[in-house]
Point group: C2
Chain length 461, copies 2
């Protein structure tokens, strides 16, 4: 297809929606390190994980070998409600930047949860239903994951109990209301409904909560209630597996128009979107069949890949979870107030951590105001108001396109537009009012975070 024939939006047909998830671990020579028990430092078995997670999801978590995993028919049907998502050629942004680069984005925001999170939420809700469970628990910060899970549980008619970081619960009443509309039970965290919550409230009476604390409460609620399990929206291998639907679709759409991306860019918090977007491209790269530049963009305020350590650490601040080997800032690192709530996580997906460690991808940071500058530039010409998280990728895509302008290169740039910013307008307001801060953690801030990383010695598998 000649360049001028490429449509604004490349849609796959409904029967081209992937019927299999792609498991990038199958093509990794160095597999991601297993989750280990914090006491014994032994890798967790399916049996040990089962009290926390749904059975099938434990299998998926540990499966480093199966390349293609069939998507159950019920999940395929749900995907048809909002997928395939469009691969968009950003003609207007290219024109505005006056760049010879061709910019594409895979837009995952066209559903009520407003983001890609629904891709994994529906899978996790399905496996819970299929196992005969009554319901699931989870935590949510910014609220995208909680919203997605509420929608998914409502569809499969199982209970959904969300622990929402108290400050978000109070400042984002609309997110909370969407979850309620989908029938979820939303509790501000810390709460007096769990031991860990009561303990924290006693120690820090005025606390407005944190993601780590909400995780601890959600895990306790799941493991202490008959018929419940805990589910998580990022970081885990299973989540990246489900999110591969993004990348598989994107790759197929590129093949349809006869284009190969040169650079692939995604924002990185826990890694769910980036891991999903890049997976089949990374597979080709790992198998030596193609080369792509792959760039993770993280907030300068929470730079796990670029300034973290590649070690075993807790996934939560309450230290009730297993240890994961990942790039981490320490489970007690507290990022400065940043409006990309979905990127304020101290760690990074073990899969992405390993790939980064092995040199298969780059990472860079972006400062908050420059992210919102990119967001607004994008919104004004491309019509979509992007989520602050996604706008990290926009920032890098614009920067790469401007480099092409200098060099005259016609590169094909792909970035992941994970979601919309309808519930982030307080952040846009701060930006428009010139009141947005750009705090970057000092080396001392990082040392404080690193101080509590557990000593796992030289545990190797």
């Amino acid at each position: 297809m000649s360049n001028k024939e490429i449509p604004y939006k490349v849609y796959l047909s409904e029967d081209e929606i992937p019927k299999e998830w792609y498991n990038v671990r199958a093509d990794m020579k160095n597999k991601p390190a297993p989750l280990i028990h914090p006491g014994t430092h032994k890798p967790l078995s399916v049996e040990e994980m089962e009290p926390i997670f749904c059975r099938e999801l434990c299998e998926q978590e540990l499966d480093n070998d199966t390349r293609l995993i069939p998507i159950p028919k019920e999940i395929q049907d749900f995907y048809k409600m909002y997928r395939p998502s469009p691969l968009v050629r950003a003609y207007c942004l290219e024109k505005k930047l006056d760049t010879p680069a061709h910019i594409y984005y895979k837009f995952e925001g066209n559903n009520t949860s407003g983001s890609h999170k629904l891709n994994s939420a529906i899978a996790q809700a399905y496996y819970a239903k299929n196992q005969g469970l009554k319901g699931v628990t989870t935590e949510t910060g910014a609220g995208q994951w909680g919203t997605a899970l509420s929608m998914a549980c409502s569809y499969f008619d199982i209970d959904c109990k969300v622990y929402m970081v108290k400050v978000s619960y109070e400042q984002k009443p609309f997110r909370r209301e969407v979850m309620r509309t989908y029938g979820a039970d939303v509790t501000p965290s810390p709460s007096d409904t769990t031991n860990v919550g009561r303990q924290i409230l006693k120690e820090f009476p005025g606390t407005t909560g944190s993601l780590g604390c909400a995780i601890s409460e959600a895990v306790e609620a799941a493991t202490s209630t008959e018929g419940y399990r805990y589910v998580l929206g990022s970081v885990l291998n299973q989540v990246l597996l489900h999110q591969s639907v993004i990348g598989v679709e994107a790759k197929k759409a590129f093949e349809k128009i006869g284009v190969k991306p040169d650079v692939i860019i995604g924002c990185a918090g826990g890694g769910s979107n980036l891991g999903g977007l890049i997976s089949p491209f990374m597979g080709e790269k790992l198998r030596g069949e193609a080369d792509y530049r792959i760039i993770a963009v993280e907030p300068a305020s929470c730079p796990s890949l670029t300034r973290g350590k590649f070690v075993y650490d807790f996934c939560d601040t309450g230290h009730v979870t297993p240890l994961a080997k990942m790039y981490t800032l320490g489970s007690e690192f507290i990022p400065s107030a940043n409006h990309a709530g979905g990127l304020r996580y101290h760690g990074m997906s073990p899969i992405l951590s390993q790939l980064y460690h092995d040199g298969y991808m780059e990472a860079r940071t972006a400062e908050q105001t420059s992210v919102f500058e990119a967001a607004e530039e994008f919104a004004r010409v491309e019509g979509i108001l992007p989520a602050p998280e996604s706008s990290h990728a926009i920032r890098a895509a614009i920067d790469e396109a401007l480099k092409c302008k200098e060099t005259g290169e016609e590169k094909n740039i792909l970035f992941g537009l994970t979601g919309t910013g309808y519930f982030d307008l307080v952040a846009y307001q701060k930006y428009n009012d010139g009141e947005m801060s750009d705090y970057i953690p000092t080396d001392e801030d990082l040392e404080a975070g690193f101080a509590k990383i557990p000593d796992t010695g030289d545990v190797q598998f």
Copy 2:
């Protein structure tokens, strides 16, 4: 195409996006009555309208004869950013209702303005730009129209001045912020920036404003500023013309799957969405080529078609606009607080009014809580959180589908899903908390509205 082969979402290809708007007036035997001057009662000429509206739009307003009007290339390009919109088969809703009916909806909410309003906003902004104007003014209540116009003006790089009803300005800061992000100048109305605003503030110091007052300010701001014109998001013939893109696409999508709708349903405030959705179907009906049941659904709190009078009336409460012949509750009728802000208009599009008067369509009302009940039922299975306005159509579609369940009829039901409810969560919250009211105006309330309808005698054209 056999029933089971119909996909969840029927998308046209990009080159099937309409290249012409369809002007239903060309097929009407009884044309809509012309706008008249409130003093002389004479029909307005293009020359008389030009100080208020862009030239080309005046031509379109008065053109009762040209059936197909070419869509300029620049507008076609913008349409490609968010169109074609999907025609969705509501499989999950059908299953939930256990109905033999086939339910389809044309979804116009997949753009940042959140509604169909963008279809006309971009056209009006284009004609303003093309005429060499500096900018446009408008009013907005709920904010969908203001947001759409801000996006359109930003794209064509012209000024956008929005008078936003003060109570909305204060209660919907996020809508306001989206407009600002798109570079619009948003003023709470009434303001001290216009004579009419100052006059109203002097008379009613504590007023929180009204749509009628905001219209008056916007018109004054346009006519008193060099290089500006006023634009409007509904009611006018030109707006219905631009919105025909919805119906033309829907009809083409139905032809693609070999289905003919039996019943077509749309919510009706000023008529922009309903008029656009039904236009090509209505054309066939007017030409005697096909028959469709067409149903307008209005809020029980603002029942212009079902309880209004078909007479000449002002389009605004400040009485600075021409008179339009329409079903009206009187320009000073104040609907009770209803969360479907986009449907709180005292009048109705002259085109739709004439068609209703001539028996080509039905109208019914829906009470607010039953509308939100339908909204929530829809959201939980179809995944989209609908706008309160659109949910009036959902209510009627569900009711029709349930009738089919009783009779066993396999009717094809089409409704217009005009937009999303991300900025209407205060309303959802009220509904979820059981605090939503269902006030229906009494006959006395209506009499008060009718009291100030101007006496135009038996003016006929």
